[in-house]
Structure formats: structure tokens, C-alpha cells
């Protein structure tokens, strides 16, 4: 039999001015299961809390109802008070007499009656409350960082510097990501590689960071603090311990005409290669698809010339299992293939290129050593047209969203061009100039005012070639929509930033959600921008949405901080409001019949299966089981269960049923 104490708060006059609190306390006192009831001026004050504690001890209360303000305000306060008096905190509930009653009604009999109803309703619930204990989960203090671009590098370094172990996994042969491909960076025009490569080296040398390049996530199981990751290390065909990175093999490799990914197809590489000179690790891999030996069994020149005998043609992919406590996803973005926009002639005309290709042309380490030259004939273009929003803000053939970085990099491109080709002319067709950011607007103004970059507001309708020139048909919408035709030598498309092609698959492997464009979804757009819906998995950089370097680095540090907070404790303590599948004595074991509709509905993949076996180890029943480490307590599963085999602590079937009954039976 319950012994419930009901404490009615006046809240100064906030409640008592409209509700007859004395009558509410009287009425509550008469309810079945209520041992004690009273009213008091300020329940949340020290004497108020002392009163509760005192009555718990004196009357041996098994439940407490504080009828005061919203539980969203003071529930933790009163639960703590109960706890200190030896009553399980989850035996305490709050009835909302202020926000839901006294503040929204005038003083009247009906208002007092409603207050009584509200208290009675909660008495109905508390009768069925049971003690709950916060859930403890151990934490493995190693972080897995997926993606070795600037986001992954920054996160790894921050976590490692906080004293925790990091495994950094990169799918390409080198870390560095898109940032290593860039020439100069806006708005300061400092050289991208000059600021990035020291960080790359730091990663390689950090005692707390284990670097796995040419490797990808194969599988991720488990939950916050306790993930098990399987990593596929693709065969590099070299023994990394023996290889000194001397590069002899690369110079001797006979297959030299493979389009270089790093140079966006504008340069060539060999079959055994290091993607770029400053690569980390600076050791080659063999591209099996293009290697003569792998293709037709003959060659092996690299093996012959290698001074340390490091070539391993028989190497195979290796699966590595890791125990990690947290994951930072930093897989970055891709640029859109613009061939869908056939009106721009990309793919048809060699001198129509993407922004990323322009970066390589402008980069001192690029195929032209930093001189802007046309891919078709190597001539220096006298006139360049830049087309902004090539794929962005285009629901028809591209993406409806703004890619955010293009306005800035296009201004930078035009500026770099003007700095390198003094007599050149550059024109940018744009719709809006989005230059919000520290020193960004100033940067764009500089391009226009000091470097004479011509900005024309309007989109380009068509690009075609005539007599060796690219005819660009655009419009100047600020000049009464005057059609504009420019004879250009080169056209640069500011292609949209899109999600990586494997993003969807990766998200499914990790059970994190992603949006309609396959960018990974943050848990809350404002307040949880680096968390995902799966506890313990965090996001950094452009895999979440297009963003520039400063923003990427900030988010990466944010994700690292979240990991460090998680790793600051040996055990996680979680709210015990979680779902539970019932268990009972044999032969039933559980009323669950294993239809797993609950598992399909669970937003957190918190429901798995349990095989109930007999003594001989034979499976006699397959039932659902909730992982309390993953369950967030929404209770959606409970409403699905036809046999009422799954229930949720804190909002159980009995509690809610009784609450409804109590409300309606006055």
C-alpha cells in the first residue's frame, strides 16, 4: 500500500492567489494511498525542501508529489531532496499547478477543482511508480576518427592532445583531403599546403594517434562508450615497415598515363604512386586496377628496383577490429559532376573546367606549377568566365541548397587569376554574393575594386565553342536583363558541394541519419550541431553540410571536445527512463513473440534480439531485447507492442493507465 505525501506550493502568491491551496491539500489528503498532505509558501525554498525530507522520514513516505510549478523547472530539485532523505528520486513527481493552472485561469471554483483533479491524476500515477537506478555504462577511452581531411586531422589532434588514444582512418593513400588540393585560401590568401602540411606531419608523429591510410570502415557495432569497429585495410602491395619512401619505384614505373585524382585529371600519375609530394605517409601504394603486373601478370619492375625489397604483390586486404568509445565522422564532401549541365559544355569542351580543377591550375604544386594555362592547348587564357551556382540553388538539375563556399572561392579564383595574368579579364556570373564571415565581404570588395574582377548578376544559359573561343551567353539582370555574350578562353564552373558518393552506405553502417542530400544529420540543428542521433557518434566538417575551412575546424574541435567530455569519466551515468522487454519464468521466459516491430520503429536501433536457450544450449525462443545504452526513452516501441511485452520505466503502462483512470474518476 502506497504512502504518498502531497506538498502543495503557494509559490508566493503565484498559485495561491487563484487556487484555494488549503482546499487542494485537504482534498488530496482524502485520496486513497495518500498518507500526508500539506501546503506551504515556497516548496523549493530550503525550509520547504526540509519539510519534504522530514515527512519522508517521519511518515515513511513511499512516494512524493510536489504540486507547484512545471516539472521542467524543479523536478531535479525535488528529486534530489527526496534522494537525500533516502527515497528513490524516481518516486517523486510534480503536479503542474502554476503554468498549467493558476497562471492560465482566473480565480474560481473551477480553477481550484482543476488543481484537485491534477493532483489526483498524479496520485494515480505515483501509486505505480517504482524505484529506478541510473544506468552505468563503461567507457573505452579510444576515439575512432573517420576521414583524414582537415576536419579529421583537427579532431584527432585535439583528442590526442587531451591525452586520449585516437585511431584515424583515411580511405585514400594519404591524409590531407580536399584542403591539400587547394591553392591559396580565402580571405587571407595564405597557401593551403603551407598551413596544412605541418598538421599532417603532427598527426603522423603524435604518440596518441594511430594512422590507418588506404582503409575504410567495414562495420560498426555497439553503443556509446563501447563500440566495436571493423576496419578494412586495403592492400597497399608494399611492406610499410621496409619502405623508406625513396621513390625509385615511382620513377621506374612504366605505366605513367593514369589521370591523377589529386590533380583532378589535369595531371598524370604512375601505377605505383604517392598522390602528392607532401603526402603523409609518404610511402607509395600500387593501384591494382592500372598496374601491369596485376592486369596481365608481367612487369614487376618496382620489385626489381626497390632497394629494401618492400614490394608485396601477394598482400591482401586486412580486417582490423577496434574497441572504441566514440566516433568522429569527418568524411568530407565531393564536388558535383557538372556534366548534367550540358548547356555549359563540361566534358565536351576541354577548357570548361570545375572550380577544383582551377585550384590545381593555380597551385604551385599543380600540373602547370601554378601558371594558369588552358587544358586544351596550354595557352594562357586572356579572358575567363566564372559561372557561380553551377549546380547549387538549382532544384531542376542540381541541388536546391546553397553550397556556401562558392561565392568566396570564385572571388578568390578571379583574384588569383588577375594576380597571375595582369592583362587578363575575368567575369563572374552570379546570382547573389554570399560573403558573410570575418573579412569575407572585404575580400570580395577587393576583388571587384582593386583587381577589377567584373561581376555580372545573372545566370549563364549556354556555352559553346566557335573559332577556338568559348561563347558564353549570359544576362545582366541589373541592366534591364540585357543579354550578354562573352568570348572567353576558359570557363570555370563553381560546382556544387555534394555529399560523398558512399555517404548513404556509411551512414547506414553506423546507424546515423542523413538528409535528403545524403549529408549526415546532426541531432539538433542549433543546440546539438556536432552530435548525431546515435549517442557517442559525432560529426565534423563538410560531411554534415557544405562548409569552409574555418567552420570545419571549429566543428572538428567541437566534436573533439564532446569526445573529451565523454572520456573524462570512467563510467557513463544515464537516465533510467528506458524501455524493457519483460522476462518471466519458464516455460514462457517472456511474453514477447519476436515480431520485432518495435525494432523497426526504434529511432535509435536500441532493440536487438536475445536467444533464449535451454540447458543444452538449444535456442528455444527468440525475443526482443533493449540495449539500455542506446535507448533514449521515447516509448514509441511500447505503443506498438500488441502483447504489451515491452514497457518503459517512468512511463509504464500501469502508470499511464492509472493516471488516466484517476483523472476521469473524481
Amino acid at each position: 500500500m502506497s504512502k504518498i505525501g502531497v506538498f502543495i506550493c503557494h509559490c508566493g502568491e503565484n498559485i495561491s492567489a487563484t487556487v484555494d491551496v488549503v482546499r487542494v491539500a485537504e482534498a488530496a489528503g482524502k485520496l486513497e494511498g495518500v498518507e500526508f498532505s500539506t501546503d506551504y509558501k515556497y516548496m523549493c525554498s530550503d525550509p520547504g525542501q526540509t519539510l519534504i525530507k522530514q515527512m519522508i522520514k517521519e511518515k515513511g513516505l513511499t512516494g512524493v508529489i510536489v504540486a507547484a510549478c512545471s516539472p521542467r523547472m524543479h523536478e531535479p530539485t525535488f528529486r534530489k531532496a527526496c534522494s537525500s532523505a533516502g527515497l528513490n528520486p524516481y518516486m517523486c513527481e510534480m503536479s503542474n499547478l502554476r503554468e498549467h493552472c493558476s497562471w492560465v485561469h482566473d480565480k474560481s471554483e473551477a480553477t481550484t477543482q482543476k488543481a484537485i483533479d491534477l493532483v489526483r491524476t498524479l496520485v494515480g500515477k505515483v501509486k505505480y511508480n517504482k524505484p529506478l537506478y541510473s544506468i552505468k555504462v563503461p567507457v573505452t577511452k579510444t576515439a575512432l576518427v573517420i576521414g583524414g581531411g582537415i576536419a579529421g586531422i583537427q579532431s584527432s589532434l585535439d583528442i590526442a592532445n587531451a591525452g586520449h588514444q585516437v585511431v584515424l582512418v583515411e580511405k585514400d593513400p594519404s591524409i590531407g583531403g580536399h584542403m591539400s588540393q587547394l591553392s591559396e585560401t580565402f580571405p587571407t590568401l595564405d597557401c593551403s599546403q603551407c598551413i596544412l602540411t605541418p598538421r599532417m606531419v603532427e598527426v603522423a608523429q603524435h604518440p596518441n594517434i594511430k594512422l590507418l591510410t588506404y582503409a575504410e570502415l567495414e562495420k560498426l557495432e555497439g553503443f556509446i562508450g563501447n563500440f566495436k569497429a571493423t576496419i578494412r585495410k586495403k592492400a597497399k602491395s608494399i611492406d610499410e615497415d621496409l619502405c623508406t619512401g625513396c621513390g625509385t619505384c615511382i620513377t621506374k614505373c612504366p605505366t605513367k598515363k593514369i589521370p591523377s585524382e589529386f590533380n583532378t585529371g589535369l595531371g598524370k600519375r604512375t601505377a605505383i604512386y604517392v598522390p602528392f609530394p607532401q603526402a603523409v605517409p609518404n610511402k607509395p601504394v600500387i593501384d591494382k586496377e592500372n598496374c601491369l603486373y596485376y592486369k596481365n601478370g608481367k612487369c614487376k619492375i618496382c620489385e626489381k628496383v626497390c632497394p629494401t625489397g618492400a614490394i608485396r604483390f601477394d598482400q591482401e586486404d586486412e580486417l582490423v577490429e577496434l574497441e572504441v568509445g566514440a566516433v568522429v565522422v569527418a568524411t568530407g564532401f565531393d564536388v558535383m559532376e557538372p556534366s548534367k549541365f550540358s548547356e555549359y559544355g563540361y566534358g565536351k569542351y576541354k577548357d570548361v573546367i570545375t572550380g577544383l580543377q582551377f585550384e590545381r591550375l593555380a597551385s604551385a604544386s599543380g600540373p602547370t606549377l601554378g601558371e594558369i594555362r588552358r587544358p586544351s592547348d596550354g595557352k594562357i587564357p586572356e579572358k575567363i568566365v566564372f559561372v557561380a551556382c553551377a549546380g547549387s540553388r538549382d532544384p531542376s538539375k542540381g541541388k536546391p541548397y546553397c553550397s556556401k563556399i562558392c561565392c568566396m572561392y570564385t572571388a578568390k579564383h578571379a583574384m588569383l587569376y588577375q594576380h597571375k595574368v595582369h592583362h587578363g579579364e575575368s567575369t563572374i556570373f552570379y546570382m547573389d554574393i554570399r560573403s558573410a564571415g570575418k573579412n569575407y565581404e572585404e575580400f570580395v570588395r577587393r576583388a571587384i575594386v582593386e583587381d577589377d574582377v567584373k561581376y555580372i548578376r545573372g545566370r549563364v544559359s549556354k556555352v559553346y565553342e566557335e573559332n577556338g573561343k568559348l561563347i558564353v551567353k549570359g544576362v545582366d539582370t541589373l541592366l534591364n536583363a540585357k543579354p550578354v555574350e562573352i568570348q572567353a578562353d576558359m570557363v570555370v564552373l563553381a560546382t556544387a558541394a555534394v555529399a560523398n558518393s558512399g555517404a548513404e552506405e556509411l551512414a547506414q553502417k553506423m546507424h546515423i541519419s542523413y538528409d535528403a542530400y545524403n549529408f549526415f544529420s546532426e541531432a539538433h540543428p542549433k543546440l546539438k550541431p556536432v552530435e548525431t542521433n546515435t549517442a557517442g557518434i559525432f560529426l565534423a566538417g563538410a560531411c554534415q553540410a557544405p562548409k569552409d575551412i574555418p567552420e570545419t575546424v571549429s566543428q572538428a574541435s567541437g566534436a573533439a571536445a564532446k569526445v573529451a567530455i565523454l572520456f573524462s569519466q570512467d563510467e557513463l551515468s544515464r537516465e533510467p527512463v528506458v524501455a524493457v522487454v519483460n522476462r518471466s519464468a519458464p516455460p514462457l521466459y517472456s511474453t514477447c513473440v519476436g515480431c520485432f516491430m518495435c525494432a523497426t520503429a526504434c529511432p535509435y536501433q536500441a532493440i536487438g534480439e536475445e536467444l533464449i536457450t535451454n540447458r543444452k544450449g538449444e535456442v528455444i525462443k527468440r525475443v526482443a531485447k533493449v540495449n539500455p545504452g542506446l535507448c533514449q526513452g521515447c516509448g514509441t516501441c511500447v505503443a506498438f507492442c500488441r502483447s504489451k511485452s515491452i514497457d518503459i520505466d517512468g512511463y509504464s503502462n500501469e502508470q499511464m493507465y492509472s493516471e488516466v483512470m484517476a483523472l476521469l474518476n473524481d
Binding site: M431, R459, P483
Partner: protein, 183 residues
């Protein structure tokens, strides 16, 4: 939204929401006749968005709506997939019905009218009849005088119209349909 707005009426009739246009100008950039237009396609879209009654009048009295050749280039390239030719059709019908056809577009309208006249009376187009009817109504009596004999000699022009059998049935389609405007 004001139900008197032209943009509202456009939406009613064509199911196109002109507010989707963000004025990128790609329609104008690709329009083959933009150079000749008084109001270029993107400007018309902007004017429709303004919901301004003066703008409405200006559009209906513009030459542009008649210069649009319905080549569909704008629609095909529009990032928002707005069917501008459909809007042009709507504007033309209104301009014509309300007698607001631009002076320089009268020939075009006359030609269309002559075209429909021959279709109404024969069921099919009679090119000779069309040209004669057009010349009479436009006053361009000497236009193409050199073309007809050659066409005739190459068997491309017949003097007598082909008539369909069920002219009566066809006349039901024309009944009550405005072919003559207020002007």
C-alpha cells in the same frame, strides 16, 4: 495574397507560382528573341511578382509577349522549372481578349487570326487562303509576292482548299470561342 494581383490570376490559370522565380535571368540569357523584346522574360517574371497593377497593364500591352516564339528554351533550362511559355500563352490570350495588343504585334495577331479563320472554314489550313486573308487584314499586300508563284510551280501551294467532311462537327468547337478581340 491579393486576389486582384496578376500573379494570383496567373497562378489560378496556369498553376505556376511566380514567387518561385529568383531572378537568375537564365531565361533571358537563352532567349533567342530577347534582343528584340521590350520586356525580357525575366523582367516579366519580376513584374508579375510585384503584383503592381501598372505593371500588369504594361505587360499586357507589351510587344514581348507576342515576340515569344514558344521555343521552350527558357522552360527547359530554368533551374526552378517554371513554364514561362505557358505564362506567355496566358498573357497573350488576355492581351488579345482585352484588346491590348501592342501596335507592332498586330501583324502577328492578324496572322494567327487569319490562320484560325481558314481552319474554321475548311477544317484544315489552306496556305493560299491564309496568305490572302492575312494580306487583306494586315495591309501588307506586296509581302512575299515573289514567293507564291515559285511555291506554286514547285507544287507547294494549291489554289483550292482541302475541306474536311464534318465541318458541322468542327463548328461546335469554334462556337462561342473568341477569335475577334475588342480592337
Amino acid at each position: 495574397m491579393n486576389k486582384e494581383d496578376l500573379s494570383f490570376k496567373v497562378r489560378q490559370s496556369t498553376e505556376i507560382n511566380v514567387n518561385e522565380c529568383y531572378q537568375c535571368g537564365k531565361c533571358t540569357a537563352g532567349c533567342p528573341v530577347a534582343e528584340h523584346m521590350d520586356l525580357r522574360p525575366s523582367i516579366i517574371m519580376r513584374m508579375l511578382q510585384s503584383g503592381d497593377a501598372v505593371a500588369e497593364e504594361e505587360i499586357l500591352r507589351s510587344l514581348s509577349i507576342w515576340l515569344c516564339v514558344t521555343c521552350e528554351t527558357c522552360y527547359s533550362r530554368c533551374p526552378m522549372e517554371l513554364d514561362i511559355p505557358k505564362i506567355m500563352d496566358y498573357l497573350r490570350v488576355r492581351s488579345y481578349n482585352e484588346g491590348k495588343v501592342h501596335r507592332d504585334a498586330r501583324d502577328i495577331v492578324t496572322f494567327h487570326k487569319s490562320f484560325l479563320n481558314t481552319v474554321e472554314s475548311n477544317g484544315r489550313l489552306h496556305e493560299m487562303g491564309l496568305i490572302l486573308d492575312y494580306k487583306m487584314h494586315s495591309g501588307n499586300l506586296f509581302q512575299d509576292v515573289m514567293l507564291a508563284p515559285e511555291m506554286f510551280s514547285k507544287g507547294k501551294l494549291s489554289v483550292f482548299p482541302e475541306r474536311i467532311k464534318d465541318l458541322k462537327g468542327l463548328s461546335r468547337l469554334f462556337k462561342g470561342q473568341t477569335k475577334n478581340n475588342k480592337s
